[in-house]
């Protein structure tokens, strides 16, 4: 028994390796994609009737390659496409191909494809779109929806990206070891950008899908580089953040701050996997920015209630992140943690030097206002909140600060509500 949903999942899972192998064969992205689509069509016809093949990837590669060659009218010089009836069982051809395509081969294929899609000649938005389309196989309309552009505009963006890759004469050869590690981080960065694209998407379904694709890409990267703790850390970070997806928005679609989220809604399974990956990465004792951010997310995930958050440890981790990747936004995040464990005065000392660089940043003024309020400097707090409202990125952010401002004006005792500032990369 082979149902449609199973076939779809199998095709999705096989896609990166199959397309990557076809790219190696044809050295052409469009041709490889078409070949894969042809193979999928044939799978949808043949598998329900004859059952799935033993090796899904090898079947798709073989059938896709033959179909494309047929299309190119060069089939005479190659193995002819088997009869439809024989498609169920390509045992001989399939096993021979499978033997040639060992795991290390697949590894290089997928890596090459990722490197091509994330080539430095492309701007970040095109890299993400290419990774989504070519590697993950997300249909064009859904990519367009996630990026809030029309399908035509997305189509054009991808066409331009492919033209650029052709013009840059990006080699389809397997990169050597040195180039691999250099560009691995570009690929990891694209995976994380993709995740953040989903994390901040307005449309709930698009959001979940992009985040899930980014995590899938992350798992592919772990399989390619099992010994690189930063890749494992990246995957952990994405899982721990995505685990909160169900609690991050209220019924009206407004953002709910971390401290106010209903932790019962957090996805415990994703958290468990994320925590396991953090532990696994940390064993290597080669800390990096993704691992540290994952460790911070892990501390939030481990706290059953917001009040149980280990802010002291979070402050230490932000300090470590600051050393590795200095940025005023990271310092601002550290200050939020410092305020929780050392008090508002220490935190204010940390952020005052950032005033110039973060002048136009909503969270800076929001945090600063809260700290000033804590210290009883109400007039300054009011001015900071007013600045924050002017810079709010969403009605929810503005409403949040407005509430604080109203409370301040009404001179009511403050409710001790926490501020959390998301790390913005």
């Amino acid at each position: 028994m082979t149902d449609a949903a199973w076939i779809e999942a199998a095709l999705t899972a096989a896609r990166p390796q199959a397309v990557a192998a076809l790219v190696r064969y044809f050295r052409d992205l469009d041709l490889a994609e078409e070949a894969f689509q042809e193979a999928c069509l044939k799978a949808l016809q043949a598998w329900p009737r004859n059952g799935p093949p033993r090796d899904v990837r090898a079947w798709l590669i073989l059938v896709g390659r033959n179909a494309a060659l047929d299309g190119l009218r060069r089939s005479a010089r190659h193995t002819a496409l088997p009869e439809e009836a024989a498609l169920s069982d390509l045992e001989d051809a399939e096993s021979a191909l499978a033997a040639r395509l060992d795991e290390s081969h697949f590894r290089d294929d997928v890596l090459r494809l990722l490197f091509v899609c994330c080539h430095p000649c492309l701007p970040a938005t095109q890299q993400i779109a290419m990774a989504l389309r070519i590697v993950c196989g997300v249909p064009m309309p859904r990519i367009a929806r996630a990026f809030l552009v029309s399908e035509a505009a997305m189509e054009q963006r991808l066409t331009r990206a492919k033209a650029r890759i052709a013009a840059a004469e990006v080699p389809f050869e397997a990169p050597d070891a040195e180039e691999r590690s250099e560009r691995l981080f570009a690929v990891a960065a694209v995976a994380y950008l993709l995740f953040n694209e989903g994390y901040s998407a307005a449309d709930g379904a698009a959001r979940a899908e992009l985040c899930a694709e980014a995590i899938r890409l992350g798992r592919i990267l772990i399989r390619l580089f099992p010994e690189d703790p930063e890749i494992t850390g990246l995957c952990a970070l994405m899982l721990l953040q995505h685990a909160r997806a169900g609690a991050r928005f209220d019924a009206a679609g407004d953002v709910v701050l971390l401290e106010s989220q209903d932790r019962a809604v957090w996805d415990r399974q994703m958290i468990a996997e994320g925590l396991a990956l953090v532990d696994k990465a940390m064993r290597r004792r080669r800390p990096g920015p993704y691992q540290i951010q994952a460790a911070i997310a892990a501390l939030h995930a481990r706290a059953a209630r917001a009040e149980e958050t280990d802010w002291g440890e979070i402050a230490v981790l932000y300090a470590a992140l600051e050393r590795l990747q200095p940025s005023p936004v990271v310092t601002l995040n550290r200050a939020v943690a410092v305020a929780k464990c050392e008090g508002a005065a220490a935190a204010l000392d940390l952020i005052e030097p950032l005033a110039e660089r973060l002048e136009g940043y909503f969270h800076f003024h929001g945090v600063r206002g809260a700290l000033l309020l804590d210290l009883g400097r109400e007039a300054e707090a009011r001015r900071a909140f007013q600045k924050a409202i002017g810079l709010a990125n969403s009605p929810a952010e503005a409403a949040h600060i407005r509430a604080r401002l109203d409370a301040l004006i009404a001179k009511e005792p403050k409710d001790g509500e926490d501020h959390h500032v998301p790390v913005v990369q």
């Binding site: 028994m1 082979t2 949903a5 199998a10 999705t12 772990i222 099992p226 396991a276 064993r283």
Partner: protein
């Protein structure tokens, strides 16, 4: 007789399921498990995270070596297991067929248990 049903499948496929697919498979499996439990045949069961979360302790050397990743790179991975208390292999196969109908794809390895230690932790 205690039998283990070891569930093998391509983890990339299984972990690519969307929420609806995941929920419908779990519901189908839950129904089979409830039937087996009602007949007193269902022992403990477990589902494993993908091998990307695995480390392996190679113990052929001293001290043992910790390696990131699964023990072996295979097309299908061990994704979970059931323990069943059944009369014989036929009955174990019957249960496996029912589970397979609820969750097609991959393979079940059916193996008798040589030793069984129930969960020694105090009940919660």
């Amino acid at each position: 007789m205690l039998y283990a049903i070891l569930c093998y499948h391509d983890e990339e496929t299984v972990w690519s399921w969307d929420k609806e697919r995941e929920a419908s498979v779990m519901k189908g499996l839950g129904e089979v498990q409830a039937r087996l439990a009602a007949a007193g045949k269902m022992g403990p069961s477990a589902r494993l995270f993908p091998t990307t979360s695995a480390v392996t302790l190679r113990k052929h050397v001293e001290p043992p070596l910790v390696i990131d990743g699964p023990f072996a790179e295979t097309k299908e991975q061990l994704l979970g297991l059931y323990v069943l208390d059944v009369a014989d292999l036929d009955e174990a196969l019957g249960a496996a067929r029912e589970l397979a109908a609820a969750n097609p794809g991959g393979a079940y390895e059916i193996r008798p248990l040589a030793l069984y230690n129930p969960d020694p932790r105090p009940a919660a």
